[in-house]
C-alpha cells in the first residue's frame, strides 16, 4: 500500500488531489493502464494506428539554412507532419485504444483552442467511440473552424457557458460530467497534467517521439545530440521527447511562454512560464508548480500560443526542474514570432506558435555555447492554425 502510494508521485510532486468520487475510477484506470501498457496485443494495435493512421515515424530533418543562420547544427523533429498537424494524436490514440480495452463506450475531453479536441475527434472516429468535447463558449466562437472540424468527424462539441467561458470552465464541466458518468466514460486528458496516472500515462504515449529520435539521430550523426529543446505548456511534447533521454548525457531545455513579459499582478500573469516563475501548489489533481497569488488563487496566464497558455505544468517536469535534470527557460511572444518567421522563410516549414518558442530559444542561446554543437528541436505542431494570430500581430 505504502509503495503504491509513493509511485503516484515524482519526488514531492504529483499525487491524486481529487474529489472522493473520482478516487475509485483513478484506481481502476491505474490498474487497467498497468495491465495493458506492456501487453503485446495492445501495443501491436497501437503501433499499427501510429504507423498507418497517424503517419509515424515522423522525420528528423536536418535544417541546413536555419543551422547556418543560428550558428549551431539543428535537427527538427517533425511532429507537425503527424496526422492532424501535431503530436497530440500520439496520446489520444493511446488513450482511445485503452478506452476500448477497458470496455468503456464514451470519451470526454476538454479543449481550449481546439487542438486536443480535434485529436480526440480523430481518435474517437478511428475507433468508433462516442466522443464529446467540452469547450468554453467564447472559445467555440473564436475557434469556429476547429469546432466544425470536430463536428465533421462526428464529435459533439459542448459549449460551456459558466464562469469565464474558456478552457478553465471547460475543464470544470468535463470533470463534472466524468464524475456523473464514471462507469461508462473515460476522461481523455491531453497533457502530462492532472492526477496520477495521467502524467505517467500521457508521457508514455508521447515517448514515441523521443524513442524515434534516439534511432534517427544515431543514423544521421552516429551519436546523441548535445541538447534537446521543446516548448512547454502542460508539457506533453517536452516529456515525450525528453523521457527516453533522461538517463543519457543530453541537456534538456523546457522552453515556456514568456508572454509579453515576466510580470504578474494579483489576478493575472503576463506569461505562462510556470517552471521559471511558479511556486509549489496543488492544481487540477496534482501537486506541481503553479502560477498563483499570495493566497493561492490561480492566476490567469497569458501567451500568444494557446497551447502554452496554462497556469500549471506537469508534475514530473516540476520534479525534473527541481533536481536540475531539465533546464527551464522562456521565450517572449515577440521572440517566438520572429523565430516563426525564420523557420517559414529559411526552411519552408510553418511551425505552430507553441513550437516557435523552442526555436526562439535556440536562436537566443546558440551563441552562448549552452546548447553544444548538435541540437534537436521538437516541432510539436504545424502553424496553419496560427496564421490569423500572426497576421494580427504583424499589423
Amino acid at each position: 500500500m505504502k509503495q503504491e502510494q509513493r509511485s503516484t508521485k515524482f519526488g514531492k510532486y504529483g499525487g491524486q488531489f481529487v474529489p472522493e468520487v473520482l478516487m475509485p475510477v483513478l484506481e481502476e484506470l491505474t490498474e487497467e493502464y498497468e495491465k495493458y501498457k506492456d501487453d503485446p496485443v495492445f501495443n501491436e494495435e497501437l503501433d499499427y494506428y501510429l504507423r498507418d493512421f497517424a503517419g509515424r515515424p515522423s522525420p528528423l530533418y536536418y535544417a541546413k539554412q536555419l543551422s547556418r543562420e543560428y550558428g549551431v547544427k539543428i535537427y527538427l523533429k517533425r511532429e507537425d507532419l503527424v496526422h492532424g498537424g501535431a503530436h497530440k494524436l500520439n496520446n489520444t490514440l493511446g488513450q482511445a485504444l485503452l478506452t476500448r480495452y477497458m470496455g468503456k463506450k464514451r470519451i470526454i475531453a476538454e479543449t481550449g483552442a481546439g487542438q486536443h479536441g480535434t485529436a480526440c475527434a480523430m481518435a474517437g472516429a478511428a475507433f468508433g467511440i462516442t466522443t464529446e468535447v467540452y469547450m468554453g463558449a467564447k472559445d467555440t466562437v473564436r475557434q469556429r473552424m476547429n469546432v466544425y472540424r470536430m463536428e465533421l468527424m462526428g464529435t459533439k462539441v459542448i459549449p460551456v457557458k459558466s464562469g469565464s467561458q474558456t478552457l478553465k470552465d471547460a475543464i470544470n464541466e468535463a470533470m463534472r460530467n466524468w464524475v456523473a458518468n464514471v462507469e461508462t466514460t473515460h476522461y481523455l486528458i491531453g497533457s502530462v497534467v492532472g492526477p496520477h496516472p495521467y502524467p505517467t500515462m500521457v508521457r508514455d504515449f508521447q515517448s514515441v517521439i523521443g524513442k524515434e529520435v534516439r534511432k534517427q539521430i544515431m543514423e544521421k550523426e552516429g551519436r546523441f545530440p548535445d541538447s534537446i529543446v521543446a516548448c512547454t505548456g502542460g508539457g506533453s511534447n517536452a516529456m515525450g521527447i525528453f523521457h527516453p533521454f533522461i538517463d543519457d548525457d543530453v541537456d534538456l531545455f523546457a522552453v515556456e511562454a514568456g508572454g509579453s513579459g515576466m510580470k504578474t499582478t494579483d489576478k493575472e500573469a503576463l506569461h505562462s512560464a510556470t517552471l521559471c516563475a511558479g511556486e509549489d501548489g496543488v492544481l487540477h489533481g496534482a501537486r506541481t508548480k503553479v502560477l498563483q497569488n499570495k493566497y493561492g488563487q490561480i492566476l490567469e496566464s497569458s501567451s500568444i500560443a494557446a497551447g502554452l497558455d496554462y497556469a500549471g505544468v506537469g508534475p514530473e517536469l516540476a520534479y525534473l526542474a527541481d533536481i536540475g535534470r531539465i533546464k527551464p527557460r522562456y521565450s517572449l511572444d515577440a521572440e517566438a514570432l520572429e523565430a516563426f518567421h525564420d523557420l517559414c522563410r529559411l526552411e519552408g516549414i510553418i511551425p505552430a506558435l507553441e513550437s516557435s518558442h523552442a526555436v526562439a530559444y535556440v536562436k537566443k542561446a546558440a551563441g552562448s555555447g549552452e546548447l553544444g554543437d548538435v541540437v534537436v528541436i521538437n516541432i510539436s505542431g504545424r502553424g496553419d492554425k496560427d496564421l490569423e494570430t500572426v497576421l494580427g500581430m504583424n499589423k
Partner: protein, 261 residues
C-alpha cells in the same frame, strides 16, 4: 462550539442536524454575516462557510457562480478569518475550501487561524485520505475536526481508511455528481447510509433542496442533512435574501424534525 457536542445535544432531542452551506463573501463579507444570522434563526445547527478558490472543480455551476461573486468582491483568507472571528453565533462553524489555499497559507498556520477564529471543522473536497496525513495531525493537535467525504463509488478498503481518519461527521455524497439542487433523491442514498458503519455522525449532502427530501434522508438513517446550492440560489437572486434563507432553513429543519423513524 465543537461539532461532536452539537450532535450529542441533537441526539438527546432525537433530532437530525441541518448543516447549511454558503460561500463567504457572496456578495460581500457584511452580507455573509447577515445571512449566517438568518440561517441560525431559521434553525441551522452547523454552518459551512465556503472559503472561495479560483478553480472549484468539485462544485456545481450554482456554487461556482457564488464563489466567483465572492472572489470578484475581494474575499481573501485574511478577510475570511477576520469576518469569522466577528460572527456572534453559538453553533459550530466549518470551513470548506480547496487544498491549494491551505497549502499556500501553510498547513499549520491555516489550522491555527481556524482555531483562533472559532472554526470547529475543515472540509477539503479535493484532499483524499491518502494525502491528508499532515493536515489530520495538525487538526488533532488543535482540536479541529477534519471532515471527509464518502461517495457511492467509494470502495470498502477506502471506506475503512476514511472512517478511521474522519472526525466531526462523515459527509456522504448522495449521488454521483457535484453539488447542485435536484428534485429527487437517489435510491443509492439509503444504501450508502447503510454501508457507512461508524459511530461518527453521518450527514448527507449534494442535491437536497426542500423539507420533504430532508425528511427522506433522515428517515433513511442519516444524522444530518447538508444543503448548499438551494441557499446559494437564494443569494444569487438578490431578492429578499435574509428572509428567504431563514424560511428555507425553517422548512428544512421542520422536515428533519418531522421525519418518520
Amino acid at each position: 462550539m465543537r461539532i461532536p457536542e452539537k450532535f450529542r445535544e441533537l441526539k438527546k432531542r432525537n433530532e437530525g442536524a441541518l448543516i447549511a452551506y454558503i460561500c463567504a463573501g457572496d456578495p460581500t463579507a457584511e452580507g455573509t454575516k447577515e445571512y449566517v444570522t438568518a440561517l441560525v434563526r431559521g434553525g441551522a445547527d452547523i454552518i459551512e462557510l465556503g472559503l472561495p478558490f479560483s478553480d472549484p472543480v468539485a462544485d456545481g455551476p450554482t456554487i461556482q457562480a457564488g464563489i466567483e461573486r465572492a472572489l470578484a468582491a475581494g474575499m481573501t483568507p485574511d478577510i475570511y478569518f477576520k469576518m469569522v472571528r466577528s460572527l456572534k453565533v453559538h453553533i459550530p462553524l466549518v470551513v470548506m475550501t480547496y487544498y491549494n489555499l491551505i497549502f499556500k497559507r501553510g498547513l499549520e498556520r491555516f489550522v491555527v487561524d481556524c482555531s483562533a477564529s472559532g472554526i470547529s471543522g475543515i472540509i477539503v473536497p479535493d484532499l483524499p485520505a491518502e494525502e491528508s496525513g499532515e493536515l489530520a495531525g495538525l487538526c488533532e493537535k488543535n482540536d479541529i475536526d477534519l471532515i471527509f467525504l464518502v461517495a457511492p463509488t467509494t470502495t470498502e478498503s477506502r471506506m475503512k481508511q476514511i472512517l478511521t481518519r474522519g472526525t466531526g461527521f462523515i459527509y456522504l455524497v448522495a449521488r454521483l455528481g457535484v453539488t447542485g439542487a435536484r428534485s429527487d433523491i437517489a435510491g443509492s442514498t439509503s444504501e450508502l447510509i447503510q454501508r457507512v458503519k461508524t459511530n461518527t455522525p453521518k450527514a448527507v449532502g449534494f442535491g437536497i433542496s426542500n423539507g420533504r427530501q430532508a425528511a427522506e434522508i433522515i428517515s433513511a438513517g442519516a444524522d444530518g442533512v447538508i444543503v448548499g446550492s438551494a441557499f446559494v440560489d437564494i443569494i444569487a437572486s438578490g431578492n429578499d435574501v435574509p428572509r428567504r434563507l431563514e424560511a428555507l432553513a425553517r422548512e428544512l429543519k421542520y422536515g428533519i424534525k418531522m421525519a418518520p423513524e
